[in-house]
């Protein structure tokens, strides 16, 4: 049995930022477990730029962004094991993991930071009808084939879903000589960043069809085409709008799901909306000493925000290990109406600082008012020129406000159009 103060599961941007922050807070004994061959996570295949604008104030590629953290992990001599898969967490915070050289590892941790990231929703989750030919894959899988393996997964491409990976891959496949016929988006708006729509679609004359989905996939061995159709306001295909598009590849960018198998197996409470753990402001779950951050907690728009959140979790885990994180009463947070979720879901009443609440809306709004209330009291009311599901929002609960709440109070966030 190995012993560490903090075991971080996942060596992507979340895990590395959390580990570095914990070290900065004075924790010596830290181990990062990474299932891929190297640290860096999914950033390693994101060779486009656009990372780091918020955190570093410069525009970096995915590998460059990751590299800054990998360097620090090495400088700080934080231990890590790559090609190592965590299999299980026990009730008393033992982590079982496996790799080729150590075999089965049994690691007793004082605190655990979950940073496993997320995965893409597969075709099956959408129940798209048609054949099961070759040539249907997630945009991220295609990205790996192109950017890491150096092979083209298709030549004539339709992309379903206008999430950022889909948009990025539209450009990437085009640059590599493929013809991207169109990007179809089920919703009446894109969930991708505006800059990606401009730089990845508009600049290459790739059409984006909103309120459109793929209703049938054709081809016995390899995909030969797809049928797309417009959808009504209930997202149901409208008969008569079907259109056949010849293609050999269908890329799916239809959402990301936090990878919480370990979390679920040990019985940690999950939020049905985020599919991540229910956490407090330090990102501690209801399982004592287990923290979660990054895309395993909720899917972020930018890696910069993952980094910031993970630093919070790293600090929390350090405080826990050092005995500074005391049990206290909680107040809870609740998204109402168009506010789909809030992270954190609860706040320790004895918190000494301000607490930032992150939330996401389910519709687009222009000139809307964001209201934060507790009971009848309006704590914050502010105008926002634009709110969109693709962009996470935040409000700050000042410590002075926090001090005024009774135990078990509920802070609600609403949006008024």
């Amino acid at each position: 049995m190995l012993n560490y103060d903090i075991v971080v599961i996942g060596g992507g941007p979340a895990g590395m930022a959390a580990a570095l922050k914990a070290r900065e807070c004075g924790v010596e004994s830290i181990l990062i477990l990474e299932r891929a061959e190297s640290l860096g996570g999914i950033l390693e295949q994101c060779i486009h730029t656009g990372f780091g604008l918020q955190y570093f104030g410069e525009e970096l590629s995915g590998p460059e962004y990751a590299d800054r953290f990998i360097k620090q992990v090495n400088e700080q001599k934080i231990e890590y094991k790559v090609d190592t898969m965590a299999l299980q967490i026990t009730d008393d915070n033992i982590v079982y993991a496996v790799n080729k050289t150590d075999g089965l590892l049994e690691i007793q941790a004082k605190a655990i930071i979950l940073a496993m990231g997320c995965r893409e929703r597969p075709r099956g989750a959408l129940n798209i009808a048609g054949t099961r030919a070759s040539g249907i894959m997630s945009a991220g899988t295609a990205q790996k084939y192109v950017n890491i393996d150096g092979y083209m997964p298709g030549k004539k491409v339709v992309i379903l879903g206008s999430g950022d990976i889909g948009l990025i891959m539209a450009r990437r496949m085009t640059l590599e000589g493929a013809k991207v016929e169109c990007v179809c988006e089920l919703m009446p708006y894109s969930s991708g960043l505006t800059r990606n729509i401009v730089q990845c679609l508009d600049d290459f004359n790739i059409p984006l069809y909103l309120s459109t989905t793929v209703v049938d996939i054709h081809g016995k061995d390899r995909v030969t085409g797809v049928t797309i159709a417009s959808v009504d306001e209930n997202r149901r295909p409208i008969p008569g709008t079907e259109r056949y598009i010849e293609c050999d590849t269908l890329l799916l960018s239809v959402g990301l799901i936090p990878e919480n198998e370990l979390t679920r197996a040990v019985g940690i409470d999950l939020d049905r909306v985020t599919s991540g753990a229910v956490v407090d402001e330090y990102r501690e779950t209801n399982h004592k000493g287990v923290f979660a951050c990054g895309n395993v907690l909720h899917v972020h728009d930018l890696v910069d925000f993952v980094t910031l959140e993970s630093q919070t979790a790293g600090e929390g885990a350090a405080r826990y290990v050092q005995g500074k994180k005391k049990d206290s009463d909680f107040i809870t947070t609740k998204g109402v109406g168009a506010v789909r979720y809030i992270v954190p879901q609860k706040i320790n009443l004895d918190n000494e600082g301000d607490v930032k609440l992150f939330f996401r809306v389910g519709n687009t709004f222009k000139n809307a008012t964001v209201k934060v209330t507790c009971g009848d009291e309006v704590l914050i009311s502010k105008k926002r020129p634009r709110l969109a599901p693709g962009e996470m929002e935040n409000v700050i609960i000042k410590n002075s406000m926090l001090k005024s709440f009774a135990k078990d109070s509920v802070i609600e966030i609403t949006v008024e159009a």
Binding site: N99, L104, P122, S134, D216
Partner: protein, 476 residues
């Protein structure tokens, strides 16, 4: 290449026949048109071992179902194939349907099905808590079970190959010549000869029979669509839950699978195209609606994939297992629709008895009834895991995260007798890619491993043979 027996079709029926015949001192070939076995009906069905009360008494279906089902547990144990004796329930939702239960019970008793019992509503609710409140009674069949159909098919072939049979893939039988008591079978490029042919070609049985001028078989592909749900709701059903049967089949069932998922389906639609395994949005929607009649809490939220399979429906309404009138050395094993999987072990014995005595073949010494137990890392204790990684470090590298499948298991699948040659072949042998991400992460790693082990460039690897390649040329 000269054989004594050539079996056309590497489905569960063909492969179990091959295994049974491989006990004898004869040369056996399994001819398969695809790049792998279990590529037709055997890979896409309800995975149910039926108790045997559905078929009309006196039919081959009735006889072979009951005896096949009784053979199944031991066969699966010997071949290390997952089988669970979960039992089945046929649920009645009205007094009229309750009558049907009594008819099924009577029929079952006549067919020799043991242990049948009618459950009242209270007992049904007790054993199946998620059953609809509108269910009034059920027929309980304790001998029914669930099995992994493609794993049984693969295990049977592996075992036959261990015992000397030859598995010939990508061999689509295009012509059969008959000369001097010998068949010459060609795929247009290569030929083999054989003294006997066993036509186990599933939905293509009629076409194979026609190659020797036998027009007696009429196969209609009857398509069944299914939805497979995540393991997180695998416990919504404890048993296989049927609704009362109709003319087209046993209706929509809700069942756990041996791997812990939940399976819903099948629809039943007679079609023309014997290769059409497309799913349709309207059918999937109606399957869910009908399944909700049994288990109301079902939603599409947990669906991880949907698929369709074709049953080889024949107009004679019974299995056709007989010598062709055109040539007694040509055995048709046709119309093997449900309960074909359940009956397959008994069909193998039945076919053996049709030809082995007249061939005068002797049992050969050293026949091995089993195969090496495949390593299933996900089911191992931590002690077993330590030991196996110490023996072979490849078992320490997880390739498929969702199902916890190791590199070692994938290498085993590729190097097994008649091993995997494509991504779907690896998937069926190991479960890599069958989890909730459906190969999103591990797909490219499986491609890499296949290319490395088979010694080809990665863009030569296919999803399931033919033109199903995954990658084109190198990037710029």
């Amino acid at each position: 290449m000269n054989f004594d027996v050539a079996i056309v079709g590497a489905g569960v029926v063909g492969n179990l026949i091959a295994r049974e015949l491989s006990r004898y001192d004869i040369k056996i070939a399994i001819l398969e048109k695809c790049n792998d076995m279990a590529m037709g009906t055997s890979k896409a069905n309800s995975a149910i071992v039926h108790a045997g009360f559905d078929a009309k008494p006196g039919t081959l279906k009735a006889k072979l179902n009951v005896s096949g089902t009784s053979l199944m547990p031991d066969l699966c144990k010997t071949l290390h194939v997952p089988f669970k004796p979960v039992g089945s329930l046929v649920v009645a939702f009205s007094e009229e349907e309750k009558e049907t239960l009594n008819e099924l019970l009577d029929r079952g008793v006549k067919n020799g099905v043991p242990g049948l019992e009618i459950y009242d509503r209270a007992k049904l609710k007790e054993v199946e808590p998620n059953i609809s409140d509108s269910a009034v009674a059920a027929l309980w069949a304790p001998t029914a079970g669930i099995v992994c159909p493609y794993e049984l098919t693969i295990a049977a072939a592996e075992n036959a190959v261990i015992n000397g049979a030859e598995f010939i893939r990508n061999f689509e039988v295009k012509s059969i010549k008959q000369e001097n008591g010998l068949f010459t079978v060609s795929n247009g490029e290569r030929e083999i000869t054989s003294k006997y042919i066993i036509n186990a070609a599933g939905v293509f049985c009629d076409e194979i029979a026609k190659l020797i001028g036998d027009d007696s078989i009429h196969t209609t592909p009857r398509k069944g669509e299914y939805m497979l749900c995540d393991k997180s709701i695998g416990n919504l059903a404890n048993h296989t839950i049927f609704q009362c049967p109709s003319k087209m089949g046993k209706g929509i069932l809700v069942t756990p699978t041996v791997d812990g998922n939940l399976l819903i389906g099948p629809s039943a639609l007679d079609i023309e195209d014997k290769t059409d395994v497309t799913t349709t949005a309207s059918t999937l929607a109606s399957i869910l609606e009908t399944a909700k009649k049994s288990v109301p809490v079902l939603t599409t939220r947990e669906v991880i994939t949907s698929f369709a399979g074709l049953r080889a429906h024949c107009d004679r309404d019974d299995f056709i297992i007989e010598k062709s009138t055109k040539n007694p050395n040509f055995i048709n094993v046709a119309g093997i629709e449900s309960p074909g999987l359940s009956s397959a072990p008994a069909i193998a014995l039945y076919v053996r008895d049709m030809i082995i005595p007249e061939m005068g073949a002797a049992e050969k010494p050293g026949f091995r009834p089993d195969r090496d137990e495949p390593v299933r890392f996900r089911h191992m204790s931590n002690e077993e895991r330590k030991a196996i990684i110490a023996k072979n470090p490849a078992y320490g590298r997880i390739i498929c995260r969702c199902e916890t499948i190791t590199e070692g298991e994938i290498l085993d699948a590729i190097h097994a007798p008649a091993g995997a040659r494509d991504v779907d072949g690896v998937k069926r042998r190991t479960r890599a890619g069958m989890g909730r991400c459906q190969g999103g992460f591990c797909g490219s790693k499986v491609v890499e491993l296949l290319a490395r082990e088979l010694g080809v460039e990665i863009n030569q690897i296919t999803k399931f043979g033919g033109d199903s390649k995954i990658l084109y040329e190198r990037t710029k």
